[in-house]
Amino acid sequence: MVIIGAGHAGVQAAASLRQQGYEAAVTIVSDEQRLPYHRPPLSKELLSGGDPLALRPESFYADQQVTLLRGTRAQAIDRGAAAVVLHDGTRLPYDQLILATGSRPRRLALPGVELSGVQLLRVLDDGLALREQLRSGSRLTVIGGGFIGLEVAAAAVSAGLEVTVVEALTRVLARVCSRPTAAHIEAVHRAWGVDLRLGAGVARLLGDSAGRVCAVELSSGERIDSDTVLIGVGAQANAELAAAAGLELDGGVVVDATLRTADPRIWAIGDCASFPLGAAATRRRLESVQNATDHARSVAASIVAEPQPYTALPWFWSYQNDCRLQIAGLIDGHDRTELIGDPSAGSFSVHCYAGQTLLGVESVNAPREHVAARRLLSGEGA
C-alpha cells in the first residue's frame, strides 16, 4: 500500500487501515519535511503564538509499522508497472495506491506578487513566516474574504495590527455561507476594527527599493499601505500526478462513489478528490478536515473489506476570535433561509433550504443547534 501525501487524509488513511486490520506494508510519501501536522491552526492558534500541533506522535508511525518518507516527492505514477516513481528515481511498487495530495492556494497573476512580505498560507513554514511578519509589521492587508483570510484578519486585529480585507465580491464568504451568516461575520470583523473593502478589485502590489511590499493598489487607484499582504483566494487540487498518469480530472481527481478512480488500484481522498455527493450525486471537491478524515476511513474500509460508497455528512468549522462557526451539510443551491436566534446577541443558526429540503445549517456560537443539525441531516432521528 502506498499513500501519497501526509496531510489529514493520508495519515488518517494509514491509521484506519491498521485499525481495520490491514496487515501488509504501508508507506506514506510526503513532500514535506515536518512530522505531519494539523493545518487549521495555521490561520488561527499558531498566529496567536500557539505551538504547531502534530497529527500523531512520532511514535505512531513506528508503532503502527507505517513507513513515513519525509521530504520525498512522488514524481510520477507508472500505472502499467504499478509503481510510484519518487523524485530521486526510486520506484515504490504498489498493490493499492491512495492519492491524498491535497490542494494548494491559488496564486494571483498580479504585478508585485513576488515581493517579499506577500504570503500564501498552506504549509507550516508559511504559517511561521506569517507569524514573524505579523510580529514585525503593523499593517496587514488580506486579499480575499474567505475563511482563511478572515481567520488571519481576526488573529491579526486581536494582536493589535491594522487590518484591511479586500474582497472582489460584494460580500465575504460568498461561495461558502448564506447571506445572514456572512453579514454577521462582516459585522463582527468591523466591530473588531477590521477595514473591510467589499466589491474592491486589486490592481497591483507596490514594493519599496528593498523589494518588500509596501502597499496594495486597488482598481480604484486607492493605495492601502501594508507591511504584509496575505493572499487567500481559494485553493486548487494537487492533481497533476493523476493527470499525468492519464486519470480523469474535474476540478480534482475524479472518483466514483467508493472514492476509486477508473483504475481499480487507485483511490483519491481529501482535498484532491472530486467525488459524487448527495442524492443528485453531483461531483464536487470539498476542503475540510472532516472530509479528509471521513474519506480516509471509508477508503480503508473499502480496501480491507468490500468497496463501499462514501456517505458521511459534510461538516465544517471555523473560528475567528470568539466567533465559532459550525456548518452541517452543504448549503450551496439554497433558495431560502430561516434564522433561529439573534445575531445581535452573537448566537444563532441559519437553516438553508432548497424548496422544502433542508440542505444545511450554519451555527454561530450555537453548538447545540449544530449537533442537532448534524443528527437531523444524517438521518439519525429528528
Binding site: 502534530a54 506522535p57 478524515t293 468549522w317 459550525q326 453548538p367
Partner: protein, 107 residues
Amino acid sequence: MALVTYIAADGRATAVELPAGTTVKDGALQNGVEGIIGECGGNAMCATCHVYVDDHWLARLAVIEEVEDALLDDAVSPRRHNSRLGCQIRISDALDGLVVRMPEAQE
C-alpha cells in the same frame, strides 16, 4: 506536574507526568497514548477526545461549558454521567493522580 493515568478500553493503563497547563488530550498525544484522536486540534468541535473521568476526580474538574456539553452528545461511544472532552480538561497540580478511561471507539 500531575500524574495522569489513562486506561484503555481493554484495561491497559499508562501513567504519565503532565505539566500544568496542558490538556488530557495533548498529554495523551504527546506521550503516544492511544485511544484519543483530537481531530479538531482541541477546539471542542469533533468529540474524538472523549474520555470517562473516574468519579473521584469528576467533581474536581472545571465545570462543563456549553460547547463541550453539546458536543458530548455527538460522541461515537455512549455518553455517560462522567463523560468529558479530553481537550477541555486542563491539567493543574490539583489534578495530580487523575484517572481517565478511554471509550471503545472515537471514530
